[in-house]
């Protein structure tokens, strides 16, 4: 799987390129803030917040057909629900990694 599933984008989304790039850039700008908030929530063992942020990232990444980020954020959401801090920490590391892969791509 690639960081962004272009085939799904074309099939499922069908937005024009300009709008899609605008949304991708929005995601790119917003994501570091979400990661920062996640880190703080993990440090404080705030499982409600962990679940909430995981849920949001899952939704946004699914909307933009970003499968790896969707998978890891889903794991984060589950970690929050199960109050499992180790699971949350692992998901956090993976989210960072996947975001880096995603960020390194250029879209045209």
């Amino acid at each position: 799987m690639k960081p962004i599933d272009i085939k799904q984008v074309k099939e499922r989304i069908g937005l024009n390129k300009k709008i899609f790039l605008k949304l991708i850039n929005m995601f790119r700008e917003e994501f570091p803030h979400k990661l920062k908030a996640l880190k703080a929530s993990i440090d404080e063992n705030d499982f409600n917040k962990i679940q909430e942020i995981g849920h949001h990232i899952k939704g946004s990444s699914a909307n933009l057909c970003l499968p790896y980020l969707q998978i890891e954020s889903s794991r984060m959401e589950t970690a929050g629900q199960e109050k499992d801090i180790q699971k949350a920490q692992k998901a956090y590391q993976n989210l960072n990694k996947e975001f880096e892969h995603f960020n390194n791509l250029t879209y045209s």
Binding site: G14, L15, H55, H56, K58, G59, S60, N63, Q70
Partner: protein
């Protein structure tokens, strides 16, 4: 070319990016989207919209897309509140779609029991969303046709008795809140029974239709008129004071009496008797009281020989 009206749609989604994506799609598909980011904000927008659409139903929100999990008020709670408020004031139907990550049957049942019309699980397929919105439009159209049918008098195409009385009630309640004034008129076709007995009911119907058209054409854009029953009409005049109501009554009377009405039985002389009143200086008066006084004024107009108008003031208690 006729301009296609955009359906006003409320989006309540706390994730900023998801709400942005939804907004882009809805705008692209021809809807007019208003975005909110929590249940409380969505509720405020809904209430404000309800207040502002009075007499202008084209401004109403018709579709609400609500995320299930939101801060302040969640989608389920918001759905129940919208349904309750709409029921209380017999408002225009709003189609509610829940966005949910939940796909277990009992949770879907919970959502639909709260009053949602439809749900879609996240992450959703946008083509599926589009089709579901098309279904929503079809249901809204059907509801609107039913509502229109109930609100319109078949023969004259004026508002029905229920609709005009409902409007008067809303106006008098607004008056209480905002200090506005309302004028009311009751009009009755003179000797209508005789017209029916002489020329037949078909001619009677022709007279009713033409009287309705002339009366409607003689009113201001925001005044409303309905067929109260038989050969009686009720008209409501927002922001109309004591000075204006008499001249309005005379204008309506003359619109009928000054020129004969053409029917299949020939050109007929038709006149109106009119009774009216106005709520100026009596902000707490009820709609029922206004009708009662207007009716009394109408009786006076008949007693004075018909083909005239009588305006009665409201007596202070």
């Amino acid at each position: 070319m006729q301009k296609v009206k955009k359906i006003k749609t409320l989006i309540a989604e706390d994730d900023v990016l998801s709400s942005r994506v939804l907004e882009e799609y809805l705008n692209k598909w021809g809807y007019e989207a208003t975005v909110t980011h929590d249940g409380k904000q969505a509720w405020e927008v809904f209430k404000e919209n309800l207040q502002n659409i009075h007499g202008h139903e084209a401004r109403a929100l018709r579709i609400a897309i609500l995320d299930w999990e939101m801060p302040e008020i969640d989608g389920i709670e918001l759905c129940k509140k919208i349904r309750q408020l709409s029921k209380d004031i017999d408002n225009i139907y709003i189609y509610i779609m829940l966005l949910t990550g939940k796909d277990r049957q009992e949770e879907i049942i919970k959502g639909l029991s709260a009053g949602a019309d439809d749900y879609i699980t996240k992450p959703f397929d946008f083509m599926e969303l589009r089709i579901r919105l098309k279904n929503a439009e079809r249901i809204i159209l059907t509801q609107d046709r039913e509502r229109q049918r109930a609100a319109t008098d078949n023969l004259t195409q004026l508002w029905s008795r229920n609709k005009i009385l409902e409007f008067l009630k809303e106006e008098t309640e607004r008056e209480g809140r905002y200090g506005e004034i309302t004028g009311v008129i009751m009009a009755d076709i003179d000797f209508f029974k005789k017209t029916n007995d002489t020329y037949g009911h078909q001619v009677g119907d022709q007279v009713l239709k033409k009287v309705a058209i002339r009366l409607k054409n003689s009113m201001r854009r925001y005044d409303k008129i309905g067929r109260y029953g038989g050969d009686e009409f009720t008209a409501v005049f927002p922001r109309c004071g004591n000075k204006q109501i008499k001249s309005i009554a005379e204008r309506l009377r003359k619109s009928i009496g000054s020129k004969n009405i053409n029917t299949s039985a020939g050109s007929l002389k038709i006149t109106l008797s009119i009774g009216g009143t106005c709520s100026e200086n009596h902000p707490s008066i009820s709609s029922e009281e206004l009708i009662k006084i207007s009716d009394k004024a109408l009786i006076n107009a008949k007693k004075k020989g018909r083909n005239n108008s009588v305006i009665l003031p409201i007596k202070s208690k």
